[in-house]
Subunit: 251 residues, 2 copies
DNA sequence: GCGCCCGGGTCCGAATTCGCACGCTATGCC
DNA sequence: GGCATAGCGTGCGAATTCGGACCCGGGCGC
């Protein structure tokens, strides 16, 4: 049986960046889960969870981004939350209810450590640090969803694009993201042309540069200024709720 | 010490309708909380929680409706969830984080049983039925918020008004609700004129009748038909998640 | 009985977004 | 090297919503 330190070293070797939620756990807790993690790839565009389907695993991203999408009857979509290596996908597996009516899609390729629901549930029910951490994370997620809702109601497509870019950049290394305008449109629930228009304006102002599915950030502070307050509100709440733990450096 | 049955009888005497979340608890659990409940009035328009403020109590409505509102920098509002006697306000007190960035306002006058956070936390941490129930309820709330977000993105003001009316009616006795169009506009995050326009159309079609802040439902199935799917999706999910318990008769 | 004010109806132009369609171009594949 | 296609630009008209303003009518308080 390896020591918990060995465990951490092993995990660190496996991916350049770890999952901050897991890293925030006390070593003893992590130890009880050790051996049950299963590294998986998150290929771009793949579906982690289909809406309403039962799933058996939770996904702790270590790299890349997973989007939680809500789909309407007529096929329109809207992103209600994003999850990077600061979080976990599959909260219904410890919250109860087993399924969620939303879809989880890989928005930016990466990897995740996945864990069988039963394993996590067993530890969750013991009521220790893991439970506290996951519930706080869920609260942060709720904040993100709420803020997204008002944002959809009151802010312009350009403001929302800025917010979305910033949220994505926070969860990726570097200042570039690979994403076509069409996919961004699906995330924001608008037409591709609206994204094109907003993006051209940002490019004209020297905030970003893009070409054929690659977007490069040139002026981050400028983006933050053009974004609605929703970005800052959510980020601040993530820091507040997870500051002592995983999100300390979610800057 | 009264028996648990006494306890229930006492509580039933106090309000014509109880809180279904509490009623779904096993008598032993309710017994441990007995004596800590405090009946409070929910006067129309009063604020239960201010956004971002710390609070010490959870509110289990027995009558009336509480709206969770998100407020933007410029003062615009949008309702992200409603809570009636099937739920509880103040989930951050057991989820962790203490405060929420949303505001809770009494949308329809009524009453609630309130409980000090510490009392509930103590029982919550024991990990029994109470915890399971509250977490499932939180999942249902998340569904409502997610669906509200897409609804804001993709559905018309009229569809949203129908959805809102139906959700309110589900949480009230009778077929009438006291609410000015201006307040409905605040809830839906639209202008008063948009509500007026949609409401006149509904009235012209004989679905509702209204005058000076009183709205009467004349044709409920008609409203359901005109509403977007969001109403049904959320309701179904509430039933699924809470069916064995409180929401059995949330019809 | 009088006047105030709340709740609601209506008209206006402007802005935004929508849906659709067509055109351009660089990348990648054969 | 040629060609298909993904990614983006652009130009419509239509629909919706916005913001502001003004009006009316009925209930309430004085």
């Amino acid at each position: 049986m390896p020591t918990s330190w060995d465990c951490i070293v092993t995990r660190s070797d496996r991916s350049s960046r770890g999952n901050r939620l897991l890293e925030a756990l006390p070593p003893e807790t992590l130890q009880t889960l050790h051996g049950y993690f299963e590294p998986v790839a998150l290929p771009l565009g793949s579906t982690v969870y289909e809406a309403g389907s039962e799933t058996s695993h939770l996904y702790f991203p270590t790299e890349g981004i997973i989007s939680m999408l809500e789909v309407t009857e007529d096929g329109s979509t809207a992103e209600i939350a994003v999850v990077g290596n600061e979080g976990v996908v599959g909260i219904s597996l410890f919250m109860g209810g087993k399924t969620t009516p939303s879809r989880a899609v890989v928005q930016s390729a990466g990897r995740a450590e996945r864990l069988r629901a039963q394993i996590l549930q067993r530890e969750f029910k013991r009521g220790g640090e893991l439970q506290v951490l996951l519930l706080r994370y869920t609260m942060a997620l709720i904040t993100q969803m709420s803020q997204t809702a008002v944002c959809y109601r009151h802010h312009s497509a350009e403001q929302q694009l800025c917010r979305w870019l910033l949220m994505s950049l926070d969860r990726l290394p570097g200042d570039e993201l690979v994403m076509t305008q069409e996919l961004i449109a699906d995330m924001l629930g608008v037409r591709r042309q609206s994204v094109t228009e907003a993006a051209s304006k940002l490019q004209a102002h020297g905030l970003i540069r893009y070409a054929r599915g690659r977007i490069t950030t040139l002026d981050r502070p400028g983006l933050e200024q053009r974004a609605c307050e929703c970005y800052a509100v959510v980020k601040k709440e993530y820091e507040r709720l997870l500051e002592v733990t995983a999100a300390r450096d979610l800057v």
